[in-house]
């Protein structure tokens, strides 16, 4: 197990393809972050009835809404509580991901 982790780390260092900056959110991390929304808002943001569909929405609108929830400007039942759990960078990445999905 330990060896597996070490070799993984070595792969990570070698993999030029993954060479994003340490703080930046890579596309696969964005996909995973967005998947945390999918439990309520549907796989790929394509929602079933009763929840807002996020797929294909404008990125700016999604960011603005999440920021409004986060700052308490937009009243909500629970989105204001969840929005506070995500950083501004994470919100940008999630919004970009959903904006790129088919409606």
């Amino acid at each position: 197990m330990k060896r597996a982790v070490q070799s993984l780390a070595a792969i990570a260092c070698l993999a030029a393809a993954a060479g994003a900056h340490a703080q930046a959110i890579d596309p696969l991390q964005a996909r995973s972050l967005a998947a945390s929304c999918a439990s309520c808002h549907g796989t790929l943001g394509q929602a079933q009835p009763g929840m807002a569909s996020l797929a294909g929405q404008s990125k700016d609108d999604l960011v603005r809404k999440m920021q409004d929830y986060k700052n308490g400007r937009l009243p909500a039942t629970l989105m204001h509580q969840l929005a506070k759990g995500y950083t501004d960078e994470q919100i940008e990445a999630i919004a970009a991901y959903f904006a790129a999905q088919k409606k």
């Binding site: 197990m1 597996a4 070799s7 993984l8 780390a9 792969i11 990570a12 070698l14 993999a15 393809a17 993954a18 696969l28 991390q29 996909r31 995973s32 972050l33 998947a35 945390s36 999918a38 439990s39 309520c40 808002h41 549907g42 796989t43 929602a47 079933q48 009835p49 009763g50 929840m51 039942t77 629970l78 509580q81 969840l82 506070k84 759990g85 995500y86 994470q90």
Partner: protein, 422 residues
């Protein structure tokens, strides 16, 4: 063996080709998923999606269909049927090419990387995803081990036949009777679940059997989740119906006498007994030696959900030793499934796993047939502590029960069922 060597070599080189339509292919790494609940079914689907259908996935699940624990308390309350909380597994097969084997797993050999099914067949795996849920520590309650006892005194803590049977017991109970539910010491599956169930039974009694009582006998000192909200509902809406008593440690059940026996408190006789026993990780995880925390829960690496006791085996959901502030819930298991799927896909294609997973929990409780209270939280990985922690300032509760969240709760259910199964 050759295939495994190939995969390891390919992984090390980072060139494992996962692309292509491999839904019926017998090539590519093989992941066996044990247990088709919120954790396992989600992992199976996302392993297929996120590997571009390059990883072969076999899901072993004994039940013919998925019966959701969340919302199932409404079946006990009488406002939903078991069909309303039941979904098919067929989309996992048809849309995502998951091979579904309807069987129990009788043994796992972590060294040989094989799974033996009760039917006798063996499956070899490159990675095993174990999502066995919980099993009950029935040995702690001798009276429930007598023949037939568990058919009379129900837990109804795994949605299915017991859910329906408990509803029938409540319907058969004469007005003026007492329904008593016992709650084990935390941690257990679904912290607010017993209190929601008490509300559902009280709601039914208020409408149909107004002289009947709901007695909550909790081993915990106080209500473990949404406490202030539930207590207000009991005091105002269900005054004279619900009574809550903490610090009631159940020691045994006299099934013939329909009586509960406690460590320090007087015996309690009731017409309908609903005993939620102490729980641990599902039996298969315990028998495989994975339940190393108090011999009850499985310790995992929260970046990958790989067991700390056995390589190449990933444990999800209620069976895991929860991170601080992380409830044992279906929503959480769904999020575990995706985190684990992403980590397995990354590892099998020679990429580093995501070092900063973030995910959330949303839990709705129905206090009547239409009004709901929620608790929500956001969790992120903390590299220094090597566990998930709640993000400071995030999360919270409803201010009061309301119908708008009743609408959202059903929207949540439809969406998480689809995200897990379709």
């Amino acid at each position: 063996m050759k295939r495994r060597q190939f995969i390891q070599a390919a992984s090390a080189a980072g060139v494992l080709g996962l692309a292509g339509c491999a839904s019926t292919s017998d090539k590519g790494p093989h992941v066996v998923v044990v247990g088709g609940g919120y954790g396992g079914a989600t992992a199976a689907k996302y392993l297929r999606m996120w590997s571009d259908y390059g990883i072969r996935v076999t899901l072993v699940e004994p039940n013919a269909s998925f019966v959701s624990c969340p919302i199932s308390n409404l079946v006990i309350g009488g406002s939903k049927t078991i069909a309303d909380v039941t979904s098919s597994y067929e989309n996992l097969e048809r849309r995502h090419g998951v091979r579904i084997v309807r069987d129990f797993v009788s043994a796992i050999d972590p060294a040989k990387r094989t799974v033996t099914l009760a039917g006798g067949a063996q499956l070899a795996y490159d990675r095993l995803v174990l999502s066995p849920g919980v099993d009950f520590m029935m040995e702690t309650l001798p009276g429930l081990n007598r023949p037939g006892a568990q058919d009379q005194v129900l837990h109804a803590w795994k949605a299915g036949p017991q859910t329906v049977a408990l509803r029938r017991q409540l319907e058969a109970m004469p007005d003026g009777g007492v329904y008593a539910i016992t709650i084990p010491l935390a941690p257990y599956r679904c912290p607010p679940g017993p209190y929601e169930r008490a509300c559902q039974v009280a709601s039914y009694f208020k409408k149909s059997k107004p002289r009947s009582k709901v007695l909550i006998l909790d081993e915990n000192a106080d209500v473990t989740s949404k406490g202030a909200l539930f207590k207000k509902v009991w005091a105002e809406r269900y005054a004279g119906i619900v009574e809550y008593r903490g610090k009631h440690k159940l020691m045994d059940v006299d099934v013939a006498g329909s009586t509960l026996k406690f460590e320090f408190n007087d015996d309690i006789k009731a017409q309908v007994l609903n005993v939620v026993p102490a729980m641990r990780a599902g039996d298969i995880a315990v028998r495989t030696g994975l339940a190393t925390v108090n011999k009850r829960w499985c310790d995992v690496d929260f970046l990958t959900f790989e067991s700390k006791a056995a390589a190449h085996i990933h444990v999800l959901g209620d069976a895991t030793q929860s991170a601080p502030g992380m409830p044992k819930s279906g929503h959480m298991a769904n999020q575990h499934g995706k985190t684990c799927a992403a980590a397995i896909v990354a590892t099998l294609s020679g990429r580093a796993v995501n070092a900063m997973p973030v995910y959330n929990n949303t839990c709705y409780s129905f206090v009547s047939d239409s009004e709901v209270v929620h608790v929500a939280s956001v969790h992120r990985y903390d590299a220094a502590q090597k566990t998930m922690v709640t993000v400071p300032g995030s999360g919270g509760l409803s201010t009061a029960p309301n119908e708008l969240e009743g609408f959202y709760a059903m929207g949540w259910a439809r969406n998480i069922w689809a995200d897990t199964l379709a």
